[in-house]
Symmetry: C2
């Protein structure tokens, strides 16, 4: 696929890179086996331009994952979690688990494109946010105190990842997932009525 375009400017390059990454997020989430050609087509750039930005499929997938992570962190950081702990939990669950879902779809693509350490490093910030909320809920009495906030944070994360896996496997219905995840997390974290 020859490209007879003039030498791109710096802003063209930024725009192309953006278009490629957006297309990659979209195309790979729908079809994990999508090729570089598929992604070039969806992003509206030629293969030469695509390879000019990303020299291999692995490199593109890594950049795609990092973009999804950055965006997710920004989205979660913008949430106002200062309200009543259980209401804040509800808000956080609904936003977080969709992010986890997108991430799972892409991870299914990536497998080892990112190292475990990279993935864990990017888990630290969202998990710290969940943990702070749980600690506040425990302090306020809205959340259970019989279990450690660190453990409950790990369970929260595990439930979200389980939901993403079940959804991908077709064992959890798309339009029921929100309710199911929220109900599960609430029963895990809420203070018992007696306390």
């Amino acid at each position: 696929m020859a490209e007879a375009t003039p030498r791109p400017t710096r802003s063209d390059a930024v725009r192309n890179r953006d278009a490629i990454l957006e297309a990659a997020i979209d195309v790979l989430a729908r079809d994990p086996r999508a090729s570089m050609t598929d992604i070039a087509r969806a992003s509206g750039v030629g293969r030469v331009t695509l390879y000019g930005h990303f020299s291999s499929r692995e490199e593109l997938i890594e950049a795609t994952l990092l973009r999804v992570i950055e965006r997710s962190e920004a989205e979660l950081a913008s949430l106002d979690l200062s309200g009543a702990p259980m209401a804040a939990l509800d808000l956080l669950v609904h936003r977080s688990w969709r992010i986890v879902d997108t991430f799972h779809r892409l991870l299914g693509v990536a497998e080892l494109a990112l190292s475990n350490e990279q993935i864990l490093a990017h888990h630290a910030e969202p998990m710290a946010r969940v943990r702070l909320l749980i600690e506040r809920g425990q302090h306020d009495g809205a959340m259970r105190r019989d279990l450690d906030a660190g453990w409950l944070t790990s369970c929260f994360t595990a439930i979200l990842h389980t939901a993403a896996g079940e959804l991908r496997a077709g064992r959890l219905a798309e339009d029921d997932a929100d309710r199911v995840v929220a109900a599960t997390v609430v029963s895990l974290l809420a203070a018992p009525p007696s306390s």
Copy 2:
């Protein structure tokens, strides 16, 4: 290490294989980097005998995992889960999660020695047992009915695996793990007081 022993009989071979596998379970769970020499030493057989049974470390690890799986299935199958659902759940949780823990320690060793399909195939039976119990609990009214038994089974499994991971990472205390896992699973599955 030369072995000047007479040609082993068939029952010697069975006994040696057993000793090797038992030693491997023990040694590898404590030290994932244990060598064939370490395992030979712990099992009381020579390296030649060890390699006569298992031609590589990978082959030994696979056999070790399969033995742990078989034993776990036998142990879980022998549990009497016919009592009140929440009591049966308690029994199942306490036995299951230690098994998951052992398995995690060995999986940390094995990584891809067993394929994902093999691992999933061996998950089917214990998960079916959990699911049956949950369905019975839902029917009896002891367990929640707002969430599907399949989903609750997946969450149960996720919690046990999370516990194994947290224990290995040192974030969950060995002597507190039983209580923590049971309390978590109970709050996940118990019917709300109002229903």
